[in-house]
């Protein structure tokens, strides 16, 4: 078991968040002219018991398309951090973006073949740079549910090395039937491989389209800027399960249960499957029996790769003063612990 050194000696914080959620509710059913979609739908129903896919999509009238939602969430985060229209030429090179989406090159392919949308969706949403005058190191991550954690780690590395002063981390989740159906099928197959019994009691699944961003900076920088709402990142640790025999021996969960920090709130369930959430809950409750335990899927539905941003967004806008733990595991075996607390200015 190993984790990176905690970032206590080089503290970073989040000084602004933006989140745009889809508001168009619909019940997904497979299209009549699409046999493959029907086949996947039926296979999942048989394996997991899911009969109702409740999907909140971006509403064209309200949020616009997924790129509009990205633009709005980014702007919101910059406004919350007090950076909107304040980035001058000197600052411009010291700010970067770490962007992620869930499905990479396939993200736009349920529509007509549009090069411009493909470019902005998959290559990089360059309009974010243009609209906000950002010219520092900016990349897209190729990752899945753990995008936020990889993004935060990269942001921390870039800030601590002096490459950048501020990194805006975030991305988008948009729903595409064939993608989330096969995604769910892969998740169920993964549970079988990991010898975890599939829970068939829940017949509904709630998917939430969303775009979210966090403004990350060194703690002393946001203090100098006098950012009003700040969330301090006390620890961010990455683990790989390659050496664990099963998910029951996940190093991140072991580490979480061995933390000496007094955790008052535990967030988990970012994986989207209740079987994993139960495992996380069991271990975390054993270590922190008096803490409040929040299964994010049960609380808000599945925001997929935006789950973590949803947690931090809700937390920073609350008056909570306690220390919290956010745990996440992805199917590639990587898992993460994030310990944070609000540090709002009076």
């Amino acid at each position: 078991m190993h984790s990176y050194p905690s970032c206590q000696s080089y503290p970073i914080s989040i000084s602004g968040t933006g989140l745009v959620e889809g508001s168009k509710k619909r019940l997904f059913v497979p299209r009549l002219n699409n046999k493959y979609e029907q086949f996947l739908y039926e296979k999942i129903e048989k394996k997991s018991g899911i009969q109702y896919w409740n999907v909140n999509q971006f509403d064209k009238e309200v949020q616009g398309g997924h790129l509009d939602a990205v633009s709005q969430a980014f702007e919101q985060a910059m406004k919350n951090a007090g950076l909107y229209r304040k980035i001058n030429k000197k600052m411009s090179q010291r700010i970067g973006i770490v962007y992620f989406n869930m499905y990479g090159p396939t993200s736009f392919m349920n529509k007509e073949f549009q090069v411009k949308e493909m470019y902005q969706s998959d290559v990089f949403p360059a309009f974010l740079l243009n609209n906000h005058n950002i010219t520092g190191y900016s990349v897209r991550l190729r990752c899945q549910r753990n995008g936020l954690f990889q993004g935060l780690e990269l942001a921390r590395t870039l800030i601590q090395s002096g490459e950048l002063d501020i990194v805006v981390v975030g991305g988008v989740f948009q729903t595409y039937s064939y993608l989330y159906l096969t995604e769910m099928l892969a998740a169920l197959d993964w549970l079988v491989r990991e010898k975890i019994k599939i829970d068939k009691t829940s017949s509904e699944y709630a998917l939430r389209e969303s775009a979210g961003f966090l403004v990350v900076e060194a703690r002393d920088t946001d203090e100098k800027r006098q950012a009003k709402l700040t969330l301090d990142i006390d620890q961010l640790n990455a683990y790989s399960a390659s050496k664990a025999n099963s998910v029951f021996e996940l190093p991140s969960l072991k580490a979480a249960t061995q933390e000496s920090v007094d955790i008052e709130q535990c967030y988990f369930g970012l994986n989207g499957r209740d079987e994993i959430a139960q495992l996380e809950s069991m271990l975390l409750k054993g270590r922190y029996p008096s803490a409040k335990h929040v299964n994010t899927y049960k609380e808000w539905g599945d925001f997929v790769n935006i789950n973590g941003i949803k947690v931090l967004h809700e937390h920073i806008h609350s008056q909570a003063t306690h220390t919290s733990l956010l745990h996440s595991i992805d199917r590639d075996g990587s898992s993460w612990n994030l310990i944070f607390k609000n540090n709002h200015k009076k």
């Binding site: 493959y36 349920n110 609209n131 520092g136 900016s138 190729r142 790989s240 390659s242 050496k243 590639d332």
Partner: protein
């Protein structure tokens, strides 16, 4: 403690060359990559709306060999990455077990896993029972075909990695951009060793995308020549091992040090358009920033590897930037894209292998081109093999997303 970051191992795999020594030898002999048609037949070509024959170097020949060599790996992309990893570690005189150590981390610079486009076309147009029966490829439309962690998981399990792989993408500058967090982690002492792999698969998805942007060559890709009409994509995997100088063991050779790096984004003119042609000012500013970081003057640079992708606007922009900074200095310039094919995300990684040869042998393998190289006038492009005492090499990569990365390499202290 010496916090300099040095390169101790290199490796590569492509249609052109399947090892780093093979790459150097073929370039020295003036060989060009063999290209083949993207579309197997006229029907497919028409289906995608192409009138001309699009060519690329897709790693077709080597695929079977790779799968035969690594029988325990089912995915050919992962097999190529494992092959290059083996080359890099052997070159660095390290056992593969080091990857499973807690002080080692793996970085990928890549656009990531890509599904077969044909599956999507069938999905888009709807499908019936018979389609599922006869078009087996439709089931490629599965999470396993598009999830990046399908690949990272296979790789991490193979080498028993202790940390998640960080996959960074910034189009064709991905290879160099992946080095920036690796170097930062090394210098901060978080890790002692970083394997940076850059890889690019050229799928029909890429071809259609690049064709939509009108940047694929119809006649020929001739970087730095006026009659070049685009780029010629090629599959490629390149790898380098970065270590802190202080950690180098006696039996290892620090080929060269990464003295400074700089990464920038060029803003495009229109708020919602892609930036296809990066302005020369942004390129020269990024190079100048790298030199400033290193405390080196333009006059000190001995050799430059430009990006040189064959897109005339991009090449012209790069030449203008080079002229601005280096026209009155000694720096020699050379590019091998036309010979190897354009490796897109992995292109920067391949040039670092050539840097090793330049430092080791004090030589510059000349540029070979079927074009006239009109754009190179006034600059010191190397057209004949020459010996040179090289201390500093500047490498620049440009991404179609407006990213520009510049990297200053310095001869290792040993040499």
């Amino acid at each position: 403690m010496d916090s300099r970051v040095v390169v101790t191992g290199v490796g590569c795999f492509s249609d052109y060359a399947q090892t780093s020594s093979d790459l150097v030898a073929k370039l020295a002999q003036g060989e060009f990559v063999q290209l083949q048609s993207v579309f197997e037949n006229q029907m497919l070509k028409s289906m995608f709306g192409f009138e001309h024959d699009v060519k690329y170097a897709p790693l077709e020949k080597a695929r079977k060999d790779l799968l035969k060599q690594y029988e325990d790996i089912s995915n050919v992309k992962v097999a190529a990455l494992v092959n290059v990893t083996g080359q890099v570690l052997a070159d660095a005189k390290l056992n593969i077990d080091v990857l499973a150590q807690k002080n080692t981390r793996v970085f990928w610079g890549s656009s990531g896993n890509q599904p077969d486009l044909i599956s999507f076309i069938r999905e888009l147009h709807g499908n019936q029972s018979l389609d599922l029966l006869f078009n087996k490829k439709i089931s490629d439309l599965h999470a396993d075909s598009f999830r990046n962690d399908t690949l990272t998981q296979l790789y991490a399990e193979y080498f028993r990695l202790q940390h998640p792989i960080l996959t960074v993408s910034s189009a064709c500058s991905s290879a160099l951009n992946a080095m920036i967090p690796a170097i930062a982690m090394l210098q901060s002492g978080q890790i002692d060793r970083a394997l940076v792999l850059s890889w690019q698969e050229v799928s029909k998805f890429d071809i259609l995308f690049m064709s939509g942007l009108n940047i694929i060559a119809r006649q020929g890709s001739l970087p730095f020549s006026k009659n070049s009409d685009g780029l010629m994509p090629a599959y490629g995997v390149a790898g380098i091992l970065l270590e802190r100088s202080a950690n180098i063991r006696e039996e290892q050779t620090p080929y060269f040090a990464v003295r400074a790096m700089s990464s920038r984004r060029a803003l495009s003119g229109s708020a919602h358009s892609a930036s296809m042609d990066v302005s020369f000012r942004s390129v020269s500013q990024t190079m100048q920033h790298t030199l400033d970081k290193a405390g080196i003057a333009a006059a000190d640079v001995d050799l430059i590897y430009p990006h040189g992708n064959g897109i005339t606007a991009s090449d012209q922009s790069e030449i203008s930037a080079l002229s601005q900074l280096f026209s009155s200095h000694k720096a020699k310039i050379v590019s091998y894209t036309e010979q190897t094919g354009y490796m897109l995300s992995a292109s920067g990684g391949f040039d670092l292998i050539l840097a090793k040869d330049a430092f080791e042998n004090n030589r510059i393998i000349p540029i070979q081109s079927k074009g006239d190289l009109e754009l190179t006038q006034g600059l010191n492009f190397v057209t004949k093999e020459c010996q040179a005492d090289i201390r500093y090499i500047l490498k620049t990569s440009i991404g179609i997303d407006g990213s520009i990365v510049s990297c200053l390499l310095e001869r290792g202290a040993h040499a």
